[in-house]
Symmetry: C2
């Protein structure tokens, strides 16, 4: 049922998704939702939290696997993990990207706070991978990379010709070396 809610939030945004739609999609009636969640906002909040958990977990498994690999490989693994969280692990992570702006102020603020934890993981990683670049510049590069990664959900088709591995390779390579041949 959390899954059903997340999918609808992703497709239509927070406020355009009604509890009756969620209920129907989950095979129950609208009023029954309140047996599990005290309000629509809280349900949304749980969906977003779940999305962050997925991302953080993906990050840590990528970190474990590649902890002593060279820098480009480690970066690639984490880019792949982030894309995997978006496209392979349910709609929870995606909800963060698509329904962020349609979320109520309180939920939005809370989501930002929790997301900071994940972003700090990335900051630490990048500072570790590129010690020769100063942190302020690196923070900017990270934001640009995040923008590129998250907006893939607007155009990337997991069932298309391009695989997630290939996409991760392209993004990583562009981040490292730019577009010049």
């Amino acid at each position: 049922m959390l899954r059903a809610a997340a999918e609808l939030f992703v497709a239509h945004g927070y406020s355009a998704t009604t509890l009756r739609q969620i209920a129907e999609s989950a095979g129950i009636k609208a009023g029954s939702i309140y047996h599990h969640f005290d309000s629509k906002e809280l349900l949304f909040s749980v969906v977003l939290d779940e999305g962050i958990d997925v991302m953080v977990q993906a990050f840590h498994t990528a970190a474990d696997v590649t902890s002593d690999a060279p820098a480009p490989s480690r970066l690639l693994a984490h880019v792949r993990a982030h894309l995997g969280a978006l496209f392979e692990n349910g709609p929870f992570t995606t909800a963060h990207v698509t329904s962020f702006f349609s979320a109520p102020h309180t939920v939005r603020a809370q989501a930002v706070t929790r997301r900071d934890g994940y972003e700090n993981l990335w900051s630490a990683l990048l500072n570790d991978l590129f010690p020769q670049i100063n942190r302020k510049d690196l923070a900017l590069h990270r934001l640009i990379l995040f923008g590129a990664l998250n907006s893939t959900i607007e155009w990337f088709d997991p069932a298309g010709n391009l695989t997630l591995d290939q996409l991760a390779a392209v993004v990583t390579n562009q981040f490292l070396n730019g577009v010049q041949p």
Copy 2:
């Protein structure tokens, strides 16, 4: 009044914005909106169209100014123009980024169609600037660049220390040369 509507759409998304809010923000009453627009969807549609017009116009002025400059300068000018459309020319362009997912299907489909025109301008530009790169790769690079540019509205503060010119330079440089020092 279009401006008031656009600002509210940007802040809360499409369906969380009520006609009464828009009316109040524009200094009129809700019913009066229908003297100008036949429906809420149509009003939103007009806002989005206006946003595309702003972007296309910014693109063409940048093209006129730098038509015989070297490739990196031309790219920089267009990146700067795109960022200018987002941050300096009202909320119409921004509405495209923030309220896209909360838009009704029909409006969304129409917006995509009109946006294709703008994206084709960019495709042509990049193919012109980088003839040595094959078009399929370049299309990917463009999508990545667009993602990075559009998501700046989530974190960039026009009133902060970093200027738009500097931001444009950073993004352009990362696109061309990557993050390596």
